[in-house]
Symmetry: C2
Subunit: 167 residues, 2 copies
DNA sequence: CGTATTAATGAGAAGGATTATCAATTGCAA
DNA sequence: TTGCAATTGATAATCCTTCTCATTAATACG
């Protein structure tokens, strides 16, 4: 899904290749702007990761993000993906999710109040996003009633497709 | 919390100690019965872990379970605790929970339909259990509406104690 | 526009939680 | 009681993630 930007074949031109790529990387993206807005240093790698993330509407894990980022700019290490993903999470740019399987998965944090939830297909592991205002309100009232302010909701429902279901 | 059953000082009686402990372990427990009901071989270690679990009303991680199990019967290894906990989960005896912090935590699976949820105090990490029939019903209807049967709900709400709150 | 300064990066080592390995042991059925 | 398949203990291996440190790059300042 992520655009593959490679203006030069790696291995050609030697030193020149390196210098040229310094200026290439990838275009800015909404997330790159966000990065700047938060006062984070916008390095080439961060711009690349932001670009890849802006281009994703699923819930990639770090390994998958790394794959997509390398397709855009091979000069990137998985350590940086781990670091960046953590940084972005700490700055409210990304949200970490746990869908089981032992690895964290990430998605772009849509502004403060467009909470959505996840339904996980028990057979396929497919993740279906949904929103539900009634659920928002109910969770909020439950928490408030117990003397708390809601900070985050981590909800995943595991479901099995009903027999005779459509699609 | 777990009873400490040690009828003999370790180190005394040598061979005899070993033979004696074979017959001691710990009493049966509701979970040990469940274990038998599922056709699982009821080894001494499993009986011990079942006993410890029946005695717990919190959400211990494996390390903590190991600690409690060793207090009952020192002849147990952490590998077995990992194995047993996984076995019990696969057999619907335990439920695995993720409260963040990178380690799985476990609790006894109360029958199919006494779902409860967790509110996590953002400052202290304390876990507060609660039930809510309205929430049960709403989640069920959401899932059904999408053509699924609800298998499991994984919900933790992170909240911050309201300023001026009681207690 | 060049330079210093400070932070970010890459590569791989280290860490923590969990699973796998395998010889020795044990529960259970006959 | 005996035999056999399953389980255990000890530890190595694995997986995901973070750390380390020398090198490189982004920003502020002149």
């Amino acid at each position: 899904m992520a655009a593959h930007i490679s203006l030069l074949d790696p291995g050609r031109l030697f030193g020149l290749r390196y210098i040229a790529m310094k200026d290439v990387t990838c275009p800015d993206s909404p997330l790159a702007d966000l990065c700047r807005q938060r006062g984070l240093k916008l390095t080439g790698q961060r711009r690349t990761i932001a670009f890849v993330l802006s281009d994703s509407d699923d819930h990639p894990d770090v390994e998958e993000l790394y794959r997509r980022a390398v397709a855009v700019d091979p000069r990137i290490s998985i350590a940086t993906v781990y670091r960046t993903v953590r940084l972005f999470e700490e700055n409210g740019i990304l949200q970490r999710r746990d869908f089981g399987g032992g690895r964290a998965r990430y998605e772009v944090a849509d502004g403060e109040h467009s909470d959505h939830y996840h339904l996980i297909d028990a057979s396929t592991g497919k993740v279906i996003e949904f929103e539900n205002a009634e659920l928002n309100a109910l969770l909020d009232s439950i928490v408030r009633e117990k003397g708390y302010d809601l900070v985050t909701t981590r909800l995943s429902i595991v479901g099995r497709r009903k027999a005779g279901g459509e699609d």
